[in-house]
Structure formats: structure tokens, C-alpha cells
């Protein structure tokens, strides 16, 4: 399995100026992308609108076809919006990279298993939905050597990452909050788009 922070650190290092739309553990303020990002103003973390990070990333990818957009989705989140696999594959933006952080659990609610954990095959689902290419990694070494090929492949690309669960049981009000509000994140990305 891949450590959550190791995964987001590597993806940030390899992003090559891409926009990144992270959610749930990938967007966690303490151990997700916000804790390691080098391009914060190009990050668009989504915590509201459950399950819709990939849809948000699709819109951004269609609007900015000359820039890569990487969605760092959660398995529980993607399960809430499974139709998005077909929507993405149907619209087929070449600049969209959909990573699913498969930790098998609803980590932010205490670690309950997601439906189908250990049974479903994410890569087969993405292939069946019509993604142009799919990849799967279950250790950081292979991800480190394979990520360039992933990002050189024309999208839409689906990438399954087997991630160690980082379960949070601290009451929500005591957890580390994001440094930026979601409104500020949208303003920052809009500013990057406008060249400000």
C-alpha cells in the first residue's frame, strides 16, 4: 500500500503546472495535498458537494484544454457519483487524469468499510466506462517510476492507487481546518486562469 502523504507529495512533484482537484484524504489539511503542495493557487480542494470532485475537474479540464487537470478522488467519494466515470469517458478530455485513492474505508467518519471494499475492481470499472487508458499502483516505488508515463498518456486516464487508510476519529470540530476557504481556492484558480 501507498502512504497517503507520499502519494500526494509525489503527484505534486510531478504535476508540471497542472491544476489539482483533491477531495477527502487526498485533500486533508494535515496529511493530504494542502500539507505538501508547491502550487497552492492551482489547487481546488473540494469537501462540500459530496462525490463531485471528478465532475468539478471535468468542467475545469473542458474549460482549460491546454493545461492538465488531476483529480485526486476518494473511493467512497467516487462510489457516490459512479456515473461520473461514464460522463468523463464520454466527454473524453485529453488533459484529464482521474486518480482514485482506494483506502477501502470512509476514513473521515471513523474508518467504516466502503461498500465493495476488497471485492470491486476499479480498473475494470474504468475500462468498462470507456477511459482511454488505465493504470494501477499498490506501492510507492512503482508509482514513482510509472507516474511520468501516466502523465504522458493522453487522457482521459484513470489511475487506481492502493492507499493505506488514515482514519480520523477526532471530533470534527477539533480537526485541523484547511488554511484556505473553498471560496478563496476558487478565487485563486480563477486568478491563475485569468493570468493574475
Amino acid at each position: 500500500m501507498i502512504n497517503n502523504t507520499d502519494a500526494v507529495r509525489l503527484l505534486d512533484r510531478k504535476r508540471r503546472n497542472a491544476f489539482i482537484v483533491p477531495t477527502m484524504n487526498a485533500g486533508n489539511a494535515r496529511f493530504g495535498l494542502p500539507s505538501v503542495t508547491t502550487h497552492e493557487k492551482q489547487d481546488l480542494p473540494l469537501s462540500g458537494a459530496m462525490g463531485k470532485a471528478s465532475s468539478l475537474a471535468l468542467g475545469l479540464a473542458l474549460a482549460q484544454p491546454n493545461k492538465k487537470v488531476m483529480c485526486l478522488d476518494g473511493d467512497g467519494s467516487l462510489l457516490m457519483n459512479l456515473g461520473t466515470l461514464v460522463t468523463l469517458a464520454s466527454k473524453a478530455p485529453k488533459n484529464l487524469y482521474h486518480f482514485v485513492f482506494d483506502n477501502g474505508a470512509y476514513c473521515v467518519t471513523g474508518g467504516q468499510p466502503v461498500p465493495g471494499a476488497g471485492k470491486m475492481d476499479w480498473v475494470e470499472m474504468a475500462k468498462g466506462a470507456g477511459f482511454a487508458a488505465t493504470f494501477s499502483f499498490d506501492n510507492i516505488e512503482d508509482l514513482t517510476t510509472g507516474i511520468d508515463q501516466v502523465l504522458d498518456t493522453p487522457g482521459p486516464v484513470f489511475v487506481h492507487l492502493k492507499i493505506s487508510p488514515e482514519i480520523e476519529n477526532t471530533p470534527v470540530q477539533f480537526r485541523q481546518r484547511p488554511r484556505r476557504s473553498v471560496q478563496q481556492a476558487f478565487k485563486d484558480v480563477a486568478g491563475v486562469v485569468a493570468g493574475r
Partner: protein, 170 residues
């Protein structure tokens, strides 16, 4: 006794003219029973990109991505889809102050007799609860209310709805 004929059909070119006048770039939508003729016209319009989805809650999130990416989308779904989309409208449209115009098929609504369809009976209450203003269009003469809705959405930086109260005609 006189019988007054009421023209209760909206023709897609009237809607398309409004979208083009306002430089709308994308229509994010899920088909409903009333809008097939609108779909046919949208597929032939080179200046507007059609983004079909599998479920209505995707539309607001895709529109948010398009908007932050510098485009000007609208959403076109049925009122039934609004009920499915609550968390997207809350967590994106309302929370990020998105000037999102939602064209909503007003299934079940009628000026004549009882409105028995719960999709029609609940939708205005839902929009009121969210503080989302809305306009009703029922004929080609009403189409310019789409411009009013777009102007308002960008002025107040909030979602605004347009309830399409009749079917689109050929």
C-alpha cells in the same frame, strides 16, 4: 362564450437566441421528456458545447469547473433532477457564490386545474428554501427572462433558476 387560445409551447430557437446573446459557452444537461427538440438544436450549434451527464447532481459541479476555468455554462435539467442535486447546489453553487443559471423543466406544472405532480408542487418551495430566485417562461415571448436570470446571477454572484413551464415544440 369565447374560447381563448393559449400558446403554450416554447420553440428552441428562442432559447438558443438567448443563450447565444449572452455568450453561453456550455450547456450541461440531462435530457428530460420535454426537451428533445432543444437537444436536437443544441447538437447543431457550433458555438455551444453540450455536456451530457448521467445524473443531475453532476451538472452543477461540471458547471463550477467550467466557470472557474473562464467559461460561461448553464445547466438544463428537469425539476426532478433538482431534488437529486441538493448537495451540489449547496456545496458548490451557493457556497462558492457561483453565478449559475439553471434552466429547469417544470414537469407537472399547469395554470389550468390541479397540479397533482409532486415534482411541480415542491420545486418552488425548494428554491425558496435555498434563497434562489427564479423566473418562469411559458412561451417564446418569455424567453428574454433568460437574459434577466443571467444578468441577475452575475450581478449577485448566486445561482438563479429559470422554470420552463411548457414543453419545447418542434
Amino acid at each position: 362564450m369565447t374560447t381563448e387560445h393559449y400558446e403554450s409551447v416554447i420553440h428552441p430557437p428562442a432559447i438558443m437566441a438567448e443563450l447565444k446573446k449572452n455568450k453561453v459557452t456550455h450547456v450541461v444537461w440531462l435530457p428530460d421528456s420535454e426537451t428533445n427538440f432543444m437537444y436536437q438544436l443544441l447538437t447543431t450549434e457550433p458555438t455551444i458545447d453540450l455536456v451530457p451527464v448521467c445524473r443531475e447532481g453532476e451538472t452543477m459541479a461540471i458547471a463550477a469547473g467550467l466557470w472557474v476555468g473562464g467559461k460561461k455554462p448553464v445547466v438544463l435539467i428537469q425539476n426532478t433532477g433538482i431534488f437529486e442535486s441538493g448537495d451540489s447546489i449547496r456545496g458548490l453553487g451557493l457556497d462558492i457564490n457561483q453565478p449559475l443559471v439553471m434552466l429547469i423543466g417544470y414537469r407537472g406544472w399547469t395554470r389550468h386545474g390541479l397540479t397533482s405532480d409532486s415534482a411541480a408542487r415542491f420545486i418552488e418551495h425548494i428554491l425558496h428554501a435555498w434563497g434562489i430566485n427564479y423566473y418562469l417562461i411559458e412561451s417564446d415571448d418569455d424567453a428574454n427572462r433568460i437574459s434577466l436570470a443571467i444578468d441577475e446571477a452575475y450581478r449577485i454572484q448566486k445561482p438563479v433558476a429559470v422554470l420552463v413551464g411548457t414543453e419545447f415544440g418542434a
